[in-house]
């Protein structure tokens, strides 16, 4: 290494990155979660929020800070004294009487000059009547305590067009709250799954097997012996075992114990951690590498059927179709190998060598994978790499319409049995919303709320005691928007919005129901 040092310095300095720019430094702590690709998606997004009450501005705060591209607040309200008391993005008595949207936009924008914000003071109804398409010009729409009649119109509009944006519906009253994402289809490559892709120790590729078998422990000096990576140790041991067991891996508990014992017997002294690692990782020999069931299920997705027009397919489904063919046609019928290797006890040379074996094989499999891709579609090489690296965690979510949950009797009674408290909170919030239509301006009584709940679930449905608690809380403070509830929703809803926009991590599947008395959350439906 010494004689090449001068050259190394030269290459090092020519490819060395400079210190990050101002924007990267500002966003450093979030780039570590969603990287430049996630950030770029945020910066291209246009968000519409249908109010500028405390909850709405709390949500927007957590979207403006990480740097969305644009937001519009649609709100024709003027700031009331009560608004001025519970909303951080109003300036107390100085804002009273002014346009609530304009005040909120001004104060939200102070936090990040990279974001564009617009206050639209038109009425929701006038846009719905004359300029419907305007709603579809956004990436995502968020509503808080939107009047049920308007919510129905909006949810119908957005669900009737498959290219319309997702809608996050948020409802809250005092200590109780819920939200739901209505969307058509959501595909995720980077789910940031916590399970690691298989190392395929049970089905070693030729170069790995060959190298493992070429190792001769007897001829190794003590340094080499104590630094042989566990991957080789296991592959070699497994090959030996299979030879003496009719080609089968260790099956019974006793056989597995024996296999492990055999590995530890190779240890020259108890300091050789690599053999201990191999023993601890021995399960990799019999945990068969197959296509994970969640991924196999995706192969049945209707979007892959020949009838689904190949031309209109998203790149994701082209990639998925190629992945399906790969697992069907290429030995050993697993997902393509990735070059991500965990750290293990090894010396530099053997670790890097192992890494290169994996990398070379991953490249070969990628080349095969690419032959399965539709030639008529052009997919970026980076996207292909990302797709293959994350193939074990892919997700396709298909959303439901707002209100579909209640109509699905089986799912609904299941929820009532498994999550009585949360289902009751959801019902009570629906009842409260319905009453604002039926009896506008009248304080809801417990009796009226109960009546509405029964109207939703059907008379005679047996309801748990938790319903009285939920109803009692709503009767106590039906229109209270508590600053802490608003702030908590602000965090949760913004986080789900970020997942939808970046297509990273996994958004909630169903209704998030929040009880800030017991401080619990649960997901229904």
């Amino acid at each position: 290494m010494v004689d090449t040092e001068s050259q190394d310095i030269e290459t090092a300095t020519t490819t060395l990155q400079s210190a990050p720019d101002a924007k990267t430094r500002r966003y450093d702590r979030q780039l570590r979660l969603w990287a430049a690709t996630g950030q770029a998606a945020l910066e291209l997004s246009r968000i519409l929020v249908l109010s500028s009450d405390a909850t709405s501005t709390s949500i927007l705060k957590n979207l403006v800070l990480p740097g969305i591209g644009h937001f519009t607040i649609l709100d024709d309200a003027r700031v009331s004294p009560a608004d001025a008391g519970n909303n951080f993005f109003l300036e107390g008595p100085r804002s009273i009487g002014k346009s609530r949207a304009e005040e909120a936009v001004r104060l939200l924008l102070e936090m990040n000059d990279g974001v564009q914000g617009v206050a639209d003071t038109r009425s929701f109804d006038s846009i719905m009547d004359t300029d419907k398409d305007w709603f579809s010009s956004f990436t995502l729409i968020i509503s808080h305590n939107l009047h049920p009649t308007r919510l129905d119109k909006l949810s119908n509009l957005l669900s009737s067009n498959s290219s319309a944006p997702p809608l996050i519906i948020v409802r809250s009253s005092a200590f109780l709250a819920e939200f739901f994402i209505q969307f058509h289809e959501h595909t995720i490559i980077e789910s940031h799954s916590e399970t690691a892709p298989s190392l395929r120790i049970d089905k070693p590729f030729p170069a790995l097997l060959q190298h493992a078998l070429s190792l001769d422990y007897e001829k190794m000096d003590s340094t080499e012996h104590g630094h042989t990576p566990y991957v080789y140790i296991l592959v070699k041991a497994m090959e030996g075992w299979k030879k003496s067991h009719g080609g089968n891996p260790p099956k019974t508990t006793d056989e597995r114990k024996e296999f492990k014992k055999g590995i530890l017997a190779l240890q020259r002294n108890i300091d050789e951690e690599n053999f201990e690692e191999a023993e601890a990782q021995a399960y990799r020999c019999w945990a068969e590498t197959k296509v994970p069931s969640e991924i196999a299920q995706l192969f049945n997705d209707p979007a892959l059927e020949p009838a689904a027009h190949a031309q209109s397919r998203q790149p994701f489904f082209h990639l998925l179709a190629a992945l399906k063919r790969f697992t069907e046609e290429v030995e050993p019928h697993t997902l393509p190998l990735t070059s991500t290797l965990p750290d293990m006890k090894a010396d530099t040379t053997s670790y890097i060598h192992l890494q290169r074996l994996y990398k070379a094989r991953a490249e070969e499999e990628k080349a095969i994978f690419q032959t399965f891709l539709d030639k008529n579609v052009d997919i970026d090489e980076d996207v292909i790499d990302l797709f293959l690296k994350n193939a074990h965690g892919l997700q396709v979510l298909r959303g439901r319409r707002w209100g579909e949950f209640e109509r699905d009797t089986d799912a609904f009674s299941g929820a009532l049995a498994s999550y009585p408290k949360e289902t009751c909170i959801h019902l009570a919030l629906s009842a409260l919303a319905n009453l604002t239509v039926k009896q506008p301006g009248v304080a809801p009584t417990a009796e009226a709320l109960r009546g509405e709940v029964l109207a939703i679930v059907g008379q005679g449905t047996e309801l748990p005691d938790a319903l009285d608690e939920a109803i009692g809380e709503l009767e106590r403070a039906p229109a209270a928007e508590l600053p802490n509830t608003a702030a908590l929703l602000g965090g949760l809803v913004a986080q789900e919005a970020i997942k939808m926009i970046t297509k990273q991590y996994v958004p909630i599947k169903g209704y998030a129901v929040i009880d800030l008395i017991d401080t619990t959350t649960a997901t229904l439906g």
Binding site: E5, D8, A12, L16, A19, P20, T24, R25, R26, D28, R29, Q30, R32, L33, A54, S58, L65, P66, G67, S80, P81, A82, A84, G85, F88, E91, G92, P93, I96, M111, A174, F175, D343, A346, D347, T348, Y351, I352, A443, E469, G472, E473, A479, A480, L482, P483, N484, A487, L488, G491, A494, Q495, E496, V506, K509, L516, I517, D518, T519, T520
Partner: protein
């Protein structure tokens, strides 16, 4: 506003009519799960707005959120402690700070912002360390909320509040609400010192920090992290002598990056970047506005419920994981039987008969439920090893190589102290 009425209760000249319209709805009437001791109306409003004094520790990611929430819910006498100054990387979430504030003390800028935005709220900042303050200072508050990123500071305030509890004086029991976040994950908990499990009780829930053995760093690097550690731990002192590495100085990070990059190239290791270098040497924890908002709101909601009794409060731990949907788990964390802070009893440990004092010290540093940095040890009669003052350190140093069993009889007591912690740990030593 049809449901509202003028609220003269607990109001002051800076309040306007209906200012607390939203909050008052839950303060004027109990709910089904409200404790019967709740004094609805005037009394609770006056307590919250005129009498209650609350301390916020930390004016960073959680602290900014906590201050805003407390101010809006009606706490008017808020104190805040923070020893840090504002960095550009704070601006993606610490929303009370602007680019022009970079370099200024967080506590002071945050306090000014809140007072400017929420009229009538007094926020008293202290730019310094929590350890600068004594019992008398902490005794003035009704509640303490922590939004810290340091385990050591949490252990210190927890032990301090536990030690302040005087069973004859109910006022001496200060509820401690603690929040913490990391990326999409976080937790909020309520600690009633001596009554519920305390921060020390749950020390073993912390993730073990990643450490790399020095021989790997020096001889067999495999990962980019190993090259970065080599640059910061071995090369920096070799090249820069006494000059201390400042992980906040971009010049220093750039130097480390260059050195690590070159080493990685030599060993054919890929993946050393500027960002990773900074992440490893500064132990950067990813942080976003949304998670902080959730956890801070959960903490402030507990403070509000405890201060007003308007609803039951959390018993006692709320854990949130936001990577896959919204998953949370609320449970009662139980007191640890031999908690050195709130358990009051000595911890019994068994060690090998041949162990040296140094080995015992190493174990104390590494053990998940103890984690004492630089411990000093003594028996009730004499010092075993003291980290300082220098003379005592020198005198006791020879003991490091002695067997513990030569210094302490079986069943004997050893007291462990550390300058970073305001409590001592009593160990009963047995031998195997």
């Amino acid at each position: 506003m049809s449901l509202s009425a003028a609220q003269p209760n607990g109001t002051s000249p800076s309040d306007w009519q209906d200012r607390y319209w939203h909050v008052d709805q839950v303060l004027e009437k109990p709910g089904p799960r409200t404790d019967p001791s709740f004094l609805a109306g005037r009394e609770v409003q006056e307590f919250l707005r005129d009498k209650c004094k609350i301390l916020v520790i930390g004016a960073g990611g959680l602290g900014c959120e906590i201050l805003a929430n407390l101010a809006l819910t009606g706490f008017k006498d808020i104190h805040v402690i923070d020893m840090d100054t504002i960095d550009v990387s704070n601006l993606n979430r610490q929303f009370l700070f602007r680019p022009a504030d970079v370099g200024k003390p967080k506590a002071i800028v945050a306090a000014e912002f809140i007072m400017n935005r929420v009229p009538g709220v007094i926020v008293t900042p202290y730019y310094g360390k929590i350890q600068d303050k004594d019992h008398e200072y902490y005794m003035q508050f009704n509640l303490v909320i922590c939004g810290l990123d340091s385990v050591e500071a949490r252990r210190w305030i927890n032990a301090t509040l536990v030690s302040m509890v005087d069973s004859d004086n109910p006022e001496s029991l200060k509820p401690l609400i603690d929040g913490g976040t990391e990326g999409f994950k976080g937790q909020a908990r309520v600690i009633l010192p001596t009554i519920t499990s305390c921060y020390e009780c749950s020390l073993d829930m912390l993730n073990k920090p990643t450490t790399f053995p020095i021989c790997t760093i020096a001889n067999t690097p495999r990962l980019p992290e190993h090259c970065i550690e080599w640059a910061s731990v071995l090369e920096w002192p070799k090249v820069h002598g006494d000059q201390k590495l400042d992980t906040d100085d971009p010049e220093h990070i750039s130097w480390l990056y260059g050195v690590a990059f070159k080493r990685a190239k030599e060993f054919n290791i890929e993946g050393v970047t500027w960002s990773l270098t900074q992440g490893v040497v500064k132990n950067v924890i990813p942080a976003i506005a949304s998670t902080n908002a959730v956890i801070a709101a959960a903490c402030c909601n507990e403070a509000f419920k405890i201060a007003t009794s308007s609803a039951a409060y959390l018993n006692n731990y709320f854990m949130l994981i936001g990577t896959d949907g919204v998953y949370s788990y609320t449970f009662e964390h139980e007191k640890r039987e031999h908690c050195p802070v709130c358990g009051g009893e000595a911890l019994e440990i068994s060690i090998n008969h041949d162990w040296t004092v140094e080995q015992l010290m190493e174990m104390l540093t590494e053990k998940q439920d103890i984690q004492i940095k630089k411990p000093s040890l003594s028996t009730p009669l004499k010092p075993i090893y003291f980290q300082q003052p220098p003379q005592l350190e020198k005198n006791t140093r020879p003991n490091l190589e002695k067997k513990v069993s030569d210094l302490v009889a079986a069943g004997g007591e050893v007291t462990v102290t550390s300058t970073t912690l305001p409590f001592s740990l009593s160990l009963i030593i047995n031998y195997t």
